[in-house]
């Protein structure tokens, strides 16, 4: 993996408008900060190599290296990435805090892992009004306060960097695919630190087709409703084609066509719908807003799901064949569109010494996906 410094990060990511504001580069140094969804570089840093560039999921991401590291195989480009099995899930009867969106699987898993001591801290995304804010929690009950869907990009990973700085050794992280990708890079010790140990105890990845630009979304939504009164945002699973905004006693529906105008360009380069480098990935089961889709990818992911199920924190079921097929189709479609765009824009596998690629992946896989 090629690592550069913040000057290159500025040029390759911020100035190319590729930054999604995931927070991976923040809380590492005094130079990179997030403010209301935008990443700011306060001052230039002159170091030729830095963690900011190494962790960033939008530049010099080597999918083959990461895949080898986490799944012992080069990146094959299958729609859902490497996994053991796909199930459905929802929070079990032991989880009495019922106010979550969809099936509550993520909250159930994280609170369970904290309660059992598998994790010493959890990195989640809370919100202030409609602004998503990173949150580091250690109390299992606090997980539920972060349970709502946000729909806008969040600098969640800065809380992960905070957790590491504070000395937590088994931090659980809930993140979107870009965040999980950044996390995978972080976990593969790109700076080749001596005595490195993976500080992350569990990665729960979310399904994601896009995340909105916060500032654009806030400006847009404030034309429809008093932003300060918004209590909940929801996009019911297809075939519904709208975002529901709950403000006070009102519920407003906004067509997804309008909402999609606010998707940042960088999401169209994203090849990952299901957080392929997680332990467990969770999404909403199509047609069933109260149930989650669950992808189990790793041994520890499997163990924790099994245990949570045994102890009544999670109810796991079989996924209907047509749901799985459609999930594979949707994830494959996202991957294909993104790779075609990346290739067209000349951002894949750049070989010139002085230029950085957005993504590196073996050509066989690229051909297979694009074909």
């Amino acid at each position: 993996m090629r690592v550069f410094g913040s000057n290159e990060l500025l040029k390759d990511v911020l100035e190319r408008d590729l930054c999604i504001g995931c927070g991976a580069c923040m809380e590492l140094c005094p130079y990179l900060k997030s403010h209301r969804g935008k990443t700011a570089m306060l001052f230039p840093c002159t170091l030729p190599e830095g963690r900011c560039h190494a962790y960033c999921p939008k530049v010099e991401v080597n999918l083959d290296d990461l895949s080898l590291k986490f799944f012992d195989t080069s990146y094959e480009g299958t729609p859902l990435g490497s996994y053991r099995y796909v199930k459905t899930a929802r929070a079990g009867e032991k989880v009495d805090n019922g106010d979550f969106q969809a099936g509550g699987t993520v909250s159930a898993l994280m609170s369970f892992a904290l309660k059992k001591g598998y994790l010493d801290a959890a990195v989640l995304t809370d919100r202030k009004g409609i602004l998503p804010v990173p949150r580091l929690v250690t109390n299992p009950e606090d997980v539920f306060t972060c349970s709502s869907s946000k729909y806008t990009a969040a600098p969640t990973l800065l809380a992960c960097n905070q957790a590491i700085k504070k000395g937590y050794k088994r931090t659980g992280v809930v993140g979107t695919p870009c965040q999980v990708l950044a996390l995978a890079q972080m976990r593969s010790n790109p700076m080749k630190e001596k005595d490195f140990t993976d500080p992350v105890g569990l990665v729960v990845g979310l399904f994601c087709t896009w995340a909105l630009d916060f500032r654009a979304f806030e400006a847009f939504i404030s034309e429809h409703v008093d932003v300060n009164k918004i209590t909940k945002l929801d996009i019911p699973p297809p075939p519904a084609e709208s975002m529901e905004v709950f403000a006070g006693d009102d519920k407003i529906e906004i067509s997804l066509d309008e909402i999609r105008q606010l998707i940042p360009e960088t999401c169209s380069y994203c090849i990952d719908m299901t957080s392929e480098f997680s332990d467990i990935s969770v999404g909403v089961l199509e047609g069933r807003p109260d149930i989650n889709t669950l992808i189990i990818r790793t041994e520890r992911g499997k163990n924790i799901v099994d245990e949570a199920q045994e102890e009544g924190y999670l109810v796991v079921g079989e996924i209907p064949e047509e749901n799985l097929e459609h999930l594979i189709w949707a994830a494959g479609n996202k991957k294909k569109k993104a790779l075609i765009k990346g290739k067209q824009d000349g951002l894949l596998n750049i070989s010139e010494e002085d230029k950085r690629a957005y993504l590196r992946v073996n050509t066989k896989t690229i051909e297979k996906i694009i074909a």
């Binding site: 590492l28 140094c29 005094p30 130079y31 900060k33 403010h35 209301r36 935008k38 700011a40 570089m41 306060l42 001052f43 840093c45 002159t46 170091l47 190599e49 830095g50 963690r51 700076m191």
Partner: protein
């Protein structure tokens, strides 16, 4: 009372040029002296303020130069000798009033002192107040040494009374801030029984008893030109115009002001006293034609030496052209011929080089080998030092927060600034945050304009900074404009408790005046608050709080928002040599050049109190320089900088 008020006629003192000017005014019996601080003029008023009560004078640091001129004019109208002091661009500020005052004329003597700054040592311009003398049609005097600073200022009052109009005296940095021997003259008796009054009930055109009104303009303009003509006649025999040299020199140098000293030195160094004559003019506008004719007749080769623009050169050439049938056509050397630069300060070397070429004289100021060695050492030996805020300066902390807030806002915002120490915000010491820097009060003025360009798609955050003294000087006008027009601007008043850059002169925000009397202080926050806009007050040393407030203000797009950042200047009497904290750096924690810091404190924050130890690869506190403000504690990402309360 100051030695400047000693009545010891004939005694010689080593005086700062500005003290000589003050003494000249005292010898003239000045009663009303006003000004606005500005380098290189400030010491004149400071000297007078010390003796004000003892000499029964009124001395005022006015809120700006226009006000200073107006207050001084009132003195003159009421039969009191008055004087008004400022730096070069101060004349611009008051020029609108001057345009009218020149027409109405004055009564008791009124003198304007313009201290100019060729080379812009302490200015962000190289303005020429000399032009105003021509434009306003008033006499201009330019003393050529330290004794003349005193003597000509004194004489300027007599001249003013003789022509019944104001007289401008011009000094420059090298005279105002140089020192020389000055022989004192007699001080008038302290007049405690002054009978001031403004007589204005006479015939309207009566210069002594009528109103001071410039209408009918035709009449008064004609009268103004008569006064100038009278001045020209007086100048023909003026003893401040001197000629030194042989009767018929090969080359005639015509010079004035500090260049007189440079010319004398160059002539002596070259040893060309028998070839060069030196005409030093003390009265440079209007030029006395007969005197000029007499001197131009000495030779055909004329070299005009003056600083910055060829103003005197142009005026002499006009006369020479008119006189050509009588005195013949002359060869001119000077600015237009390329012998001297038209910007920057002159010095003996520049004059000497020009003179060497004109006269084809060989001169080696130092052996070639020495010159080479000196150049080599200069290139490698001297560290490159740029201007920086002092250790403990509140402006460094303020700009840190402003820079941070603008970056977080992320709309490529910028700061408009003006004149004061905070102008250094254009440099790395202020994180290069100021991107537009102009005249006093222009920060908020220009910002007021930027903040109205939203309808044309301009979305950048607009911030203006202004010092407390500048707020009263001209900032308040820009603020009123911005508020009235609902301009989207964040206005930051950097209130450091005085007119700090020029030496802590009082301003209307303080409860003391130039003479040390108690006066009502005006509250900037209350003034801003009375405009119905959001006003916040903060401590610039509270980086977190300031940055949070600022970020919020910048993103609040509803009209003008004001943040007043209050902290006294590190050099103010209240803070100088008083450390709040003893600082030290835990070298074990300091991240140094590693990822995670990369020398933030010594590479970016760059307070002179922080130094980088090249060998140990950590930062250190330079205890001799550190002012103990403690701000750097809050910028260190590793919490390696520690503070403890100073004993």
């Amino acid at each position: 009372m100051s030695y400047l008020a000693d009545n010891n006629e004939g005694v010689q003192h080593l005086l700062l040029g500005n003290e000589a000017i003050a003494r000249g005014a005292l010898e003239a019996g000045v009663k009303v002296a006003t000004g606005y601080p500005g380098t290189p003029s400030s010491e004149i008023m400071e000297s007078l303020s010390k003796v004000a009560h003892g000499r029964n004078m009124y001395v005022e640091w006015s809120i700006n130069e226009k006000l200073a001129m107006e207050v001084a004019a009132a003195g003159s109208f009421a039969r009191l000798r008055s004087m008004c002091v400022m730096k070069q661009n101060g004349v611009n500020v008051g020029s609108d009033f001057l345009l009218h005052l020149a027409l109405t004329g004055t009564r008791e003597g009124m003198v304007i002192i313009a201290c100019e700054d060729p080379g812009a040592h302490s200015s962000i311009n190289e303005g020429e107040a000399r032009m105003f003398a021509g434009m306003l049609e008033i006499p201009l005097l330019e003393p050529g040494d330290f004794q003349e600073l005193k003597d000509m200022v004194k004489w300027a009052f007599d001249l003013s009374e003789e022509i019944r109009n104001l007289v401008m005296v011009r000094s420059v940095t090298r005279l105002s801030h140089g020192s020389g021997n000055v022989k004192f003259g007699k001080l008038p008796e302290i007049d405690t029984n002054v009978d001031a009054g403004f007589q204005c009930d006479g015939f309207i055109l009566d210069p002594d008893k009528g109103a001071m009104i410039s209408m009918p303009v035709n009449h008064f303009h004609g009268r103004l030109q008569e006064k100038l003509k009278k001045a020209r006649e007086i100048f023909e025999d003026c003893l401040f115009n001197t000629y030194n040299g042989v009767e018929k020199p090969e080359l005639l140098i015509i010079t004035s002001s500090a260049c007189n000293l440079y010319c004398k030195e160059a002539i002596a160094l070259l040893g060309v006293e028998d070839r060069v004559g030196l005409l030093k003019l003390g009265t440079t506008w209007p030029l006395p034609p007969e005197l000029i004719k007499k001197n131009l007749s000495r030779t055909d080769n004329i070299f005009i030496v003056e600083e910055v623009l060829p103003i005197m050169e142009g005026n002499i050439k006009v006369l020479a052209a008119e006189m050509a049938p009588e005195i013949g056509v002359k060869n001119f050397y000077g600015k237009n011929a390329g012998n001297l630069p038209t910007s920057g300060e002159l010095n003996p070397d520049l004059v000497l080089d020009a003179l060497k070429t004109i006269l084809s004289v060989e001169y080696e100021d130092m052996p070639e080998s020495y010159k080479k060695k000196a150049q080599a050492v200069a290139l490698t030996g001297a560290p490159n030092r740029e201007l920086t805020f002092c250790p403990g300066c509140p402006h460094r902390a303020s700009f840190w927060s402003i820079h941070g807030a603008l970056k977080l806002d992320g709309r490529k915002g910028f700061v408009c600034g003006d004149i004061g120490c905070y102008g250094l915000g254009v440099l790395p010491t202020g994180f290069s945050t100021i991107k537009a820097l102009h005249a006093m009060g222009s920060g908020i003025g220009v910002a007021s304009g930027f903040g109205k360009l939203r309808q044309f798609g301009m979305d950048q955050a607009v911030v203006a900074v202004c010092g407390d003294s500048t707020f009263f000087h001209a900032g308040i006008n820009g603020l009123l404009n911005a508020v009235h027009h609902s301009s989207d601007v964040t206005f930051i008043v950097l209130d450091n408790g005085g007119t700090a850059m020029t030496g802590f002169q009082p301003h209307p925000g303080l409860t003391v005046n130039a003479m040390g009397d108690e006066v009502p202080g005006l509250d900037i926050a209350a003034i801003c608050g009375s405009l119905g806009i959001r006003v916040e007050i903060g401590d610039p040393f509270d980086l977190k709080g300031t940055q949070e407030t600022l970020t919020e203000l910048i993103q609040d797009k509803k009209g003008v928002k004001v943040l007043i950042l209050r902290k006294n200047c590190a050099l103010s009497p209240e803070r100088k040599n008083k450390k709040d904290y003893e600082m030290h750096i835990d070298e074990g924690i300091c991240l140094g050049e590693n990822c995670g810091c990369n020398r933030l404190c010594t590479r970016i924050f760059r307070c002179p109190g922080l130094v980088w130890d090249q060998e140990r690869k950590t930062s250190r506190i330079d205890e001799a320089i550190c002012a103990g403000c403690g701000v750097c504690v809050d910028i260190c990402p590793a919490e390696a900088i520690k503070k403890k309360e100073a004993a």
